[in-house]
């Protein structure tokens, strides 16, 4: 059993989730994910890691409440336990001295881009962080990211903070600041990672995306997380989750991502009569 150190909603629907798991904390690296099960009848889902404390033996993730499993997680309190928390899984994000790296975060990815930005900074890169949200009240961890970023930009859909608009404003925004990144790393929802890959492709900016497909075991055994990269089938859990965004078959990925959409919310409907939501 793994005990919950902290679970709190930091912005609407988005939760910071700290679990005591010393063996995971011991070897976790930026870009890894963990698999968990919220209770004995629950589903196994992957969560990207957003931070850790090796000494305290804790690992932090940010999750958005969308379906049945994340709804169960959102009810957990400090001191509660969950039966499964395993990792770190997946290959870590490649950290090297690239020069200027643009780290793009959105949704839960604002959390998981943080350790990546931090490691890139430690490796001697100029780290440019760009956060995207629908509105300013959905932004979080700006202070943490500001501490590891040389430059921090914000785009909001409604213009309540930073640049108004969509994520595809990246080239303009970087152009105005005179920044030409040597590498772009995106952590966020599928649509955001796809859009960034689309706008950086014509510019020739190498773009790494941290993919988030459906998974069951997370160790290469079931193949549900497969995607096409450069015309070849890859398993996100063991070959990724980082891939070159310009090589991914995004239409296929989006379709596979929706493969169980009805069932993801179905448990919500079934358990609502127990009035625990």
């Amino acid at each position: 059993m793994y005990s919950i150190v902290e679970r709190r909603m930091i912005v609407p629907n988005m939760h910071e989730f700290i679990v005591r798991a010393p063996v995971v904390a011991e070897s976790v690296k930026p870009g890894n994910f963990i698999m968990l099960r919220p209770d004995p009848t629950g589903e196994r889902i992957p969560l990207s890691v957003a931070d850790w404390d090796r000494e305290a033996g804790t690992v932090t993730s940010i999750f958005m409440q969308v379906g049945g499993t994340t709804a169960k997680l959102a009810r957990l309190k400090p001191g509660d336990t969950i039966p499964t928390y395993v990792g770190p899984l997946g290959k870590e994000t490649v950290i090297d001295k690239f020069g200027t790296v643009l780290c793009v975060g959105g949704c839960y990815g604002i959390g998981s881009i943080y350790p990546i930005a931090r490691a890139l900074k430690e490796a001697g890169n100029r780290v440019v962080v760009l956060l995207e949200a629908r509105s300013s009240f959905l932004l979080y961890w700006e202070d943490k990211l500001a501490r590891v970023a040389n430059d921090l930009f914000v785009i909001t859909r409604d213009g309540t903070k930073g640049r108004k608009g969509h994520i595809d404003k990246i080239p303009e925004l970087m152009g105005a600041a005179g920044i030409v990144p040597d590498r772009v790393i995106v952590n966020g929802c599928t649509f955001q990672m796809m859009r960034v890959s689309e706008v950086t492709k014509p510019l020739g900016w190498k773009t790494i995306v941290n993919m988030n497909p459906i998974m069951i075991d997370g160790t290469g055994m079931c193949g549900v997380c497969r995607l096409s990269v450069g015309g070849k089938t890859k398993f996100a859990c063991v070959d990724g989750p980082d891939f070159d965004g310009h090589e991914i078959d995004w239409a296929e990925f989006l379709a596979r991502r929706k493969g169980y959409s009805p069932e993801e919310v179905d448990p919500l409907r079934h358990s609502s009569c127990r009035s625990r939501f």
């Binding site: 589903e43 075991d217 160790t219 290469g220 055994m221 193949g223 063991v238 379709a255 179905d266």
Partner: protein, 477 residues
């Protein structure tokens, strides 16, 4: 005085049938199909044994069970001694009695088989194991004094459990690291409830735990900690991480929604209990027309699972003919009884989806049998221009698994064999590194439960000799 001639017993050629759930009932549930021999049938079946002077049956057993010995005990009604004889060399009798391919092993070499039906050795093994469990007093074997040596076992599947069982009895401290949240490996995630109830797997895992084996679940060796890191704490490591890498056919359309690896399909149902959705959260689709591609036991398990999930039509698409099906005859018969339609001599060449990325149709080529290939089976040859399309809502790819690559990727110095698994010395199970052994599907690719257990037995003996600094000695038999 002339010696009295023993009365010659007439050969009993009739094998006692295995009581089974009726097929019209069992297709609606996930309960075990084969119900097990009642006492009378077990004694009668055991009495068919002709007590050969030089029995061959035990030579057919990969773990060398004293088969004539335990059969004799059943005839005499001494079931307690019978199960003790089995457990000397087999820690998992209730499992082996159910899923071993006995017709290829012990029962194949049974002399009675030359006349007609061999003694139902597997069913008798199961009988004793179930009898012991029902009696409720599981005996613990004699344990050797503690040696102070520590062994790490990676994977709580059949190979790992066997190694753990053997080494703990020999006095070593054994710790198993299991990646999933439950122990059993393929016995838990792969083989369905209706063929091997999970309560039985848990029972046998708990038995090994009761001997003092420590088990850590949710621990992915190679990721959580590397093998090298484990070797800082342990004197030897056994790798039994299994064939957890599903193969696909590499034909167009395999990444459409509704196309599953058998591993995904079966894991959703078995490990995650998707058949009890929404009581359990993990969903599994319940399509009405399912095609399972493949002809092995995993294909049969997938097809029979689809039947139980309420499919109207389940087809098994296999490129060779019925004679070449690698699945056990018993499983093929069960699948046929349950209404699975066998589309033999058919090769899928393309999967076609709808506008939303869901599977709609499968395109196949018809095949005919040509000359025998390297496996000795007649090679299927496509009939040119015989392409046709059929509509399906789901395709399950059950064409095999390769060894899981996580250990190889993260452990330097391990030689790889032709199948992509760990290369080992077959006589000892030792890898190219002196303190690492391996066995089961991580070495063989997808094989059988009992061959994994046989590997585990061999490796355990070698690890024991190594730990006791007696590696040069001949194996203890």
């Amino acid at each position: 005085m002339a010696e009295e001639k023993p009365e010659k017993k007439k050969l009993d050629l009739q094998r006692r049938p295995m009581p089974k759930q009726n097929h019209w009932e069992r297709v609606k549930n996930f309960d075990e199909v084969a119900l097990g021999y009642p006492v009378a049938a077990a004694v009668e079946e055991a009495s068919r044994c002709i007590k050969c002077k030089k029995p061959l049956c035990n030579q057919g057993c990969p773990v060398g069970i004293d088969i004539p010995g335990f059969i004799k005990c059943i005839v005499e009604g001494d079931f307690g001694s019978g199960i003790r004889k089995i457990k000397k060399t087999n820690a998992l009798p209730a499992i082996c009695g159910r899923v071993c391919p006995q017709e290829e092993q012990c029962e194949k070499t049974c002399i009675l088989g030359n006349k007609q039906a061999p003694v139902a050795i597997g069913r008798l093994e199961r009988f004793l194991a179930d009898w012991e469990a029902a009696e409720g007093k599981i005996e613990v074997p004699d344990m050797a004094p503690k040696t102070g040596k520590k062994v790490a076992v990676i994977g709580a599947g059949p190979a790992g459990i066997t190694v753990a069982n053997d080494l703990i009895i020999l006095g070593h401290e054994v710790t198993i690291f299991e990646a999933l949240h439950e122990c059993g490996g393929v016995l838990i995630y792969g083989i369905p409830e209706f063929r091997l109830p999970k309560a039985i797997v848990n029972r046998e895992v708990n038995y090994v735990r009761s001997l003092g084996v420590k088990i850590y679940t949710d621990f992915v060796v190679g990721k959580t900690r590397t093998v090298n890191r484990l070797l800082e704490e342990f004197d030897a490591v056994f790798v039994g991480s299994g064939a957890g890498l599903p193969w696909f056919m590499e034909i167009p359309g395999e990444n459409l929604n509704g196309v599953y690896s058998a591993n995904e399909y079966l894991t959703r149902v078995n490990l995650m209990k998707g058949f009890r959705f929404p009581e359990y959260d993990t969903p599994v689709k319940r399509p009405s027309r399912v095609a399972v591609v493949g002809g092995g036991n995993v294909a049969m398990d997938s097809a029979r699972t689809a039947v139980r999930l309420g499919a109207d039509e389940v087809h098994l698409v296999y490129r060779r003919s019925k004679a070449e099906l690698p699945a056990r005859v018993e499983e093929v018969e069960n699948a046929e009884e349950e209404g699975v339609i066998f589309d033999l001599l058919n090769l899928p060449v393309r999967l076609i989806g709808d506008e939303n990325g869901w599977i709609k149709e499968i395109e196949c080529l018809r095949m005919e049998l040509g000359a025998p290939d390297e496996s000795g089976r007649r090679k299927p040859v496509p009939i040119q221009g015989s392409n046709y399309r059929v509509s399906f809502d789901a395709i399950v790819m059950a064409i095999g698994n390769g060894p899981n690559p996580l250990i190889q990727m993260t452990t330097p110095g391990l030689d790889i064999n032709k199948k992509g698994g760990l290369a080992t010395d077959p006589a000892t199970g030792r890898t190219s590194r002196p303190n690492i052994w391996a066995g089961g599907d991580i070495v063989r690719g997808a094989a059988t439960v009992i061959s994994a257990m046989g590997d585990g037995r061999i490796a355990a003996a070698s690890i024991h000799r190594y730990l006791m600094n007696r590696e040069g000695e001949a194996p203890v038999t």
